[in-house]
């Protein structure tokens, strides 16, 4: 084979390998509207995401761009003020995988959108539906039970805890005396 052909073949192969993750900077309005239709259980815990979410391939749990956007929103909207960098403060930790209102993304979405009675404010008038999804996806990643293929951007500030895609929650449950269960 001629060197020219070989390199052409290699180039073609390389290009095939680069399947770029899709970034959609603005959702189409009908999609955005349908993502709003989250059907949670009457107590606001758990439920079903809209069909659009599944059809899109769960973009807020598996797309690195969305996770990184969620990570920025996490600081911009002062989530770190109550939940620290996942370790908790007046709000519960996410890192330990212990979810007061359930670990699924719908529970997290509803917590952010509608707030919770013990101090969690509602963000429905402060964030768009897409932003709430991005934030919920990121928050779920902090306390994920298994390693994920997609990760948000690195911290650009103080490194204070294991990285988000290290799936630390599992190990926390496996070993320790702490945290003791609530009353």
């Amino acid at each position: 084979m001629k060197p020219g052909r070989t390199s052409l073949l290699l180039l073609a192969l390389t290009l095939c390998a680069c399947q770029r993750e899709e970034r959609q900077f603005r959702l189409d309005p009908p999609i955005s509207a349908s993502l709003q239709a989250v059907a949670s259980m009457p107590d606001g815990i758990s439920g079903a995401p809209p069909d659009t979410y599944r059809v899109l391939g769960k973009p807020y749990a598996s797309n690195a761009y969305n996770l990184s956007q969620g990570k920025q929103l996490y600081t911009w909207f002062n989530c770190n003020g109550c939940h620290a960098n996942g370790g908790g403060e007046t709000g519960p930790a996410f890192l330990d995988g212990w979810w007061r209102y359930g670990p699924d993304i719908i529970s997290i979405f509803v917590s952010i959108r509608d707030g919770r009675p013990r101090g969690m404010p509602a963000f429905r008038d402060r964030l768009t539906t897409e932003q709430i999804w991005q934030l919920a996806g990121y928050v779920q990643t902090i306390g994920a039970y298994s390693a994920k293929t997609a990760a948000p951007a690195r911290d650009d500030a103080m490194q204070s805890r294991p990285a988000e895609n290290r799936a630390p929650a599992k190990s926390s449950f496996a070993s320790d005396q702490w945290p003791y269960p609530p009353q």
């Binding site: 109550c82 370790g87 709000g91 330990d96 101090g119 103080m158």
Partner: protein
């Protein structure tokens, strides 16, 4: 009752049945488990044959009948509560009372109410909302009774609230006046009669002009600690908390009137003087420790003094009449304790840089409230020795969410114990003795005429030490950490008892909660790893322990 009132001022009791010789015989007389997670920091109150105990939020007020050997609940009262406040109580020590005056009990609630109840029956007389938890405002101190008025201030610096102090009519709960820590003179209560000791503190509207435009509206400066009523000088003295947000780049200027001491006219709330302690306060050092008023000779002249143990580790002695700082002495010797300087640019928190080993950390060098034995002039100061790494971050104000702008990691001072108790000799202006403790001492001190000092530790040991030497004379282990006020009272049988409520409260209480994951160094405002070796309590409920001689 008399004992309790004296304790609110100096945490000193004239009771002397329990003394250095017999304290080692102290034993548990009874305990009362509140069933409520944690505790609030204020001491239980004994009036006549009843003991009044207020639990942590959501509060219940219990009245225990002390006449029987195993006290029974005479009545209990649970006010309606707004659960949102549970997510706001953050970094201030919470001590809601109760306080007793003329047959009534008054207490504040974390969710912003002040409530009066009949002490005989527990019937509610009035309930007034003074703070708005939906803006991040909470109440963390007990109201101060001053001549028919109740005075209380808000907490919530970390939510960008604006500090205020309010006076209520004790009879009805009607609001008499309210003045703010920041803003134009009209809001602060600065009028013709305002005479700060330093001339540089005089000038129109410094409370708004010493801030970037409009920043005073979310400028913190809360009044989270108790006020002190001086009936002789007719003064109301209170501290103001650190400015908000933590990121100092967003609040260039002196940030008046945060991080200092105010004296006000109790009748109108008008400011008499203000003494700044940490203008601009780049380390967000808290300012919630109770002050002590005492009259004693100073440089040969009898003076009315105000003792202020400050977060920076210094004991400030102020003149109560003028606000003049007469002395500022380091409670730990300077060669023994590191001291950050906010004038050093390399130690100033800024964006994108981690400034390391700032001592003391934001929690300050003072643990609980000090106690004073006026006869010997020894002040007993609970000590915290922690340092922090801090990095400024941009903060945006969103109502009801934290307004912080900092990543903080707190750690022990290398090679040092994290807490202690200092016996400070006011006359000689030096420490008479010091006890080191493994953990920060978050409990208040109690001094008695039996020449004893009582205090508790985070790992749940109540201790009695010799007031003259600091020698440990008695200790007893409780089921959870002690972070509140030990107290002593004369029971209906005429005998002296010592009481303490064990249970998590305040910043260390927060850092030891089950929902904190200590692998995040910034968890619980950076405190999570600083006490990571604290064992989990065997019982998370707040529990009252009462001790007596056999």
């Amino acid at each position: 009752m008399r004992e309790a009132q004296q304790i609110t001022a100096t945490r000193y009791s004239e009771l002397d049945q329990i003394d250095r010789d017999n304290v080692s015989h102290l034993r548990l007389v009874f305990s009362f488990r509140s069933g409520q997670r944690g505790a609030q920091g204020a001491a239980p109150l004994v009036v006549g044959s009843r003991l009044y105990l207020l639990t942590s939020f959501p509060h219940t007020l219990f009245a225990l009948d002390l006449t029987s050997p195993q006290p029974k609940v005479s009545w209990q009262f649970t006010p309606q509560s707004d659960p949102i406040a549970a997510g706001l109580a953050c970094c201030d020590r919470t001590a809601h009372g109760p306080v007793f005056d003329k047959g009534r009990l008054y207490f504040s609630t974390l969710d912003g109410h002040v409530i009066a109840v009949d002490s005989d029956t527990g019937r509610m007389l009035w309930d007034v909302a003074v703070a708005n938890p939906h803006q991040g405002e909470t109440l963390t101190s007990p109201p101060t009774v001053s001549g028919g008025r109740l005075v209380i201030g808000n907490a919530g610096d970390n939510f960008g609230t604006r500090g205020w102090v309010v006076a209520l009519d004790a009879a009805t709960g009607r609001e008499l006046w309210r003045h703010y820590t920041t803003g134009p003179d009209r809001d602060v209560g600065i009028t013709q009669g305002f005479a700060p000791f330093e001339a540089s503190d005089r000038g129109p509207d410094l409370g708004s002009r010493s801030w970037p435009a409009g920043a005073w509206q979310h400028g913190g400066g809360s009044v989270s600690g108790p006020s002190l009523y001086d009936s002789e000088l007719e003064l109301l003295l209170h501290n103001t908390g650190p400015p908000a947000p933590w990121n100092p780049e967003q609040r260039a200027g002196a940030n008046r009137w945060t991080s200092g001491v105010f004296a006000r006219d109790p009748q109108t709330g008008a400011a008499r003087w203000f003494t700044p302690l940490h203008p601009h306060n780049v380390y967000s050092w808290v300012n919630g420790t109770a002050n002590i008023a005492v009259d004693r000779p100073w440089s040969g002249v009898n003076r009315k003094l105000l003792l202020h143990a400050d977060a920076d580790g210094l004991l400030y002695v102020l003149d109560r009449g003028s606000g003049e700082i007469l002395a500022a002495d380091p409670l730990l010797s300077p060669e023994d304790a590191r001291q950050a300087s906010q004038d050093d640019p390399s130690q100033t928190p800024r964006s994108g840089v981690q400034v390391r080993d700032i001592c003391p950390a934001w929690v300050g060098a003072i643990g609980g409230d000090p106690a004073l034995a006026a006869s010997t002039g020894i002040l007993f100061v609970p000590i915290t020795r922690l340092c922090m790494d801090i990095e400024a971050r941009p903060a945006s104000y969103i109502e009801g969410t934290p307004f912080m702008g900092a990543n903080v990691r707190v750690h022990a001072e290398p090679g040092k114990e994290r807490g202690g108790l200092v016996g400070w000799d006011l006359g000689r202006r030096k420490a008479a003795w010091r006890i080191d403790e493994r953990f920060p001492v978050a409990s208040d001190a109690l001094a008695t005429a039996g020449e004893l000092v009582f205090y508790g530790t985070l790992d749940g040991v109540i201790k009695a030490v010799d007031a003259g030497t600091g020698k440990l004379l008695w200790q007893w282990r409780t089921a959870t950490g002690i972070m509140g006020q030990p107290t002593t009272y004369r029971g209906p049988d005429g005998r002296q008892y010592v009481a303490v409520v064990a249970g998590a409260t305040g910043p260390y209480g927060l850092a030891s909660q089950y929902w904190i994951d200590r692998r995040d160094a910034t968890a619980a405002l950076g405190l999570a790893q600083s006490i990571a070796d604290l064992p989990a309590p065997t019982d998370p409920s707040g529990t009252l322990y009462v001790f007596g001689l056999p």
